[in-house]
Symmetry: C2
Subunit: 397 residues, 2 copies
Amino acid sequence: MGKVLIIGAGGVATVAAHKVAQHPEVFDEIMIASRTKAKCDAIVKAIGNPSIQTAKVDADNVEELVELLNGYKPDMVMNLALPYQDLTIMEACLQTGCNYLDTANYEPKDVAHFEYSWQWAYKKRFEEAGLTAILGCGFDPGVSGVYTAYAAKHYFDEIHYLDIVDCNAGNHHKAFATNFNPEINIREITQNGRYYENGQWVETKPMEIHKDLTYPNIGPRDSYLLFHEELESLVKNFPTIKRARFWMTFGQEYLTHLRVIQNIGMARIDEVDYNGVKIVPLQFLKAVLPNPQDLGENYEGETSIGCRIRGVKDGKELTYYVYNNCSHHAAYLETGMQGVSYTTGVPAMIGAMMFLKGIWKKPGVWNVEEFDPDPFMEELNKDGLPWHEVFNGDLEL
Amino acid sequence: MGKVLIIGAGGVATVAAHKVAQHPEVFDEIMIASRTKAKCDAIVKAIGNPSIQTAKVDADNVEELVELLNGYKPDMVMNLALPYQDLTIMEACLQTGCNYLDTANYEPKDVAHFEYSWQWAYKKRFEEAGLTAILGCGFDPGVSGVYTAYAAKHYFDEIHYLDIVDCNAGNHHKAFATNFNPEINIREITQNGRYYENGQWVETKPMEIHKDLTYPNIGPRDSYLLFHEELESLVKNFPTIKRARFWMTFGQEYLTHLRVIQNIGMARIDEVDYNGVKIVPLQFLKAVLPNPQDLGENYEGETSIGCRIRGVKDGKELTYYVYNNCSHHAAYLETGMQGVSYTTGVPAMIGAMMFLKGIWKKPGVWNVEEFDPDPFMEELNKDGLPWHEVFNGDLEL
């Protein structure tokens, strides 16, 4: 049906590449490109399919990207690199007539600030070029938006309250490690919390609001209110929403480590002069911490991510909870990566599949909830992320 | 009486320089040298005595040191640089006929391992050259040895139990900072504990043994058993000692920060490759943490360091506690530095004074307890570190 170029060679890209390779009926040709070609070659070796091509590209560099896209001519670029590179890759797609998908919204390197406005600004250009850009097609953002769209389509006349709940109850047996890029992870968590209520955004201090939430097959876990980027598009696309929040679990040890990392200055994202070399402390810390891609082997337990929704149908109040539980070990056995990479990489593959099948294809820049959720939901069940529904249960929220 | 060269321009060197400058009747000429001459010039400016000379020297480089010593011809070098440089400076002293004093024993850069054997190996060469080397002449080591020698000389026939107790009850109002070079501080604390009992050394895990000890004018503080270098020389020089231990106070927050620093790999002393630059994580952390020299201004509270001794005199059991309390703020007002630098820098000056007065002058390499403690004890009272005695109190140990 079409050829894809995966940019990135981290945990998410590794999972997505495995999954794309499992669907030759959709993906005719595959190329993986990143700053370090050897990492791409290692993924190809792990998959065991030598027909997958690899290339070296600096995703910060539009010219290099354009050259690669003009040479390979993919139907779609799956951007699984860092969110810093969203705009350069979108730009290269526009210049070369290529469709686009990513899993996390753009943020500039020098301020921790996650929002869609930068990428939405490309809407008109993608429209005029007849190209599709699908934003935030991982799990959260991604499946969380598809879940919401599915709930709105099938079960609610109006969604009033939306809580996205993200629990990682896994144990990687390291004193401290982040589950994805530590730089992005720490930037995300140390910023102020924010949620949407009655038409406006309410700001909180970092980790200020938390409560015990009970996760299926896991039990109660202390869950912290964070800002998460899909809130921004979901309240826009579902204007009946009165309140939208995002919750993530953290253990006390994780939070203690995080607090100390900030106290000692290692979460700083400005440059420090070290013997004449300019170094960003958080980037140096990343080089010292365990690589999230190496956590898989001994990772036990599972993740549980879902949407807890309250609204009305035919004038009656209704609650709905849709979620997936993903085993770190099962993810590792299939792809060599842990569950956090797996839950992000699988939906990225499905998004690309939806596009190549012509189901999620419309010129412009879109968030996932703006497409038909049904075929995506069907594919989740087939591709390792089955979902479950609870009707009229206690949402605890 | 003589001229001194101070090597180093940190907090301890700053205090020692102030104190040396207060005694022109002993110190005829003063020079301060360090890797960064501007830091030496800043100390001279703070003291306000333009007759003090300054120079640039790399204390790792014996040739540079020899050239400096041959040019300036000091009677004594006060080594107040890092303990990594003890051996190069001792070597340069031997080559140029210069006497030597330091405040902390040598350790190699690549292993955290504090012991005197490296420096004691120079004993014969100093003897043959007719030169005096005084090792470990800060507070602990330093005053702790003088206290012990004083107790042995005046109050005990036999010392049986020696506990050196070091409390910092100050508050610098920073989330986390070390009171002296963070690299040395963290190396010291993260190594195994060790104490002497019945003729042998007993090893403990880091921070394994701790108890509440009550410090004068402060109250009870959780105190942790560490190895500290003066134990090594004191049990050798006072062979009646059955048990010798060293205790230091740490708050829970400090220990939490330390634990996390280790967990995240920032206490590592091996080199890490960071974008092609070799960087020792602990040294990078030092560059990000507050500079101990900048803590003085808002430092409240005091330190309390002393020796708790049990032994016999005329066949009767006796306990003896001798200690000094030092106010961070008073130290800052006098020298611009906090109490931890002050309590180390003042004894260094007194040691040099003892040598230049001919009281502590004998060819060889010596620890402070091998000299007459009385004139040193007298000088402590005059120079800002008055001491107090408690007889037959409860040592809690």
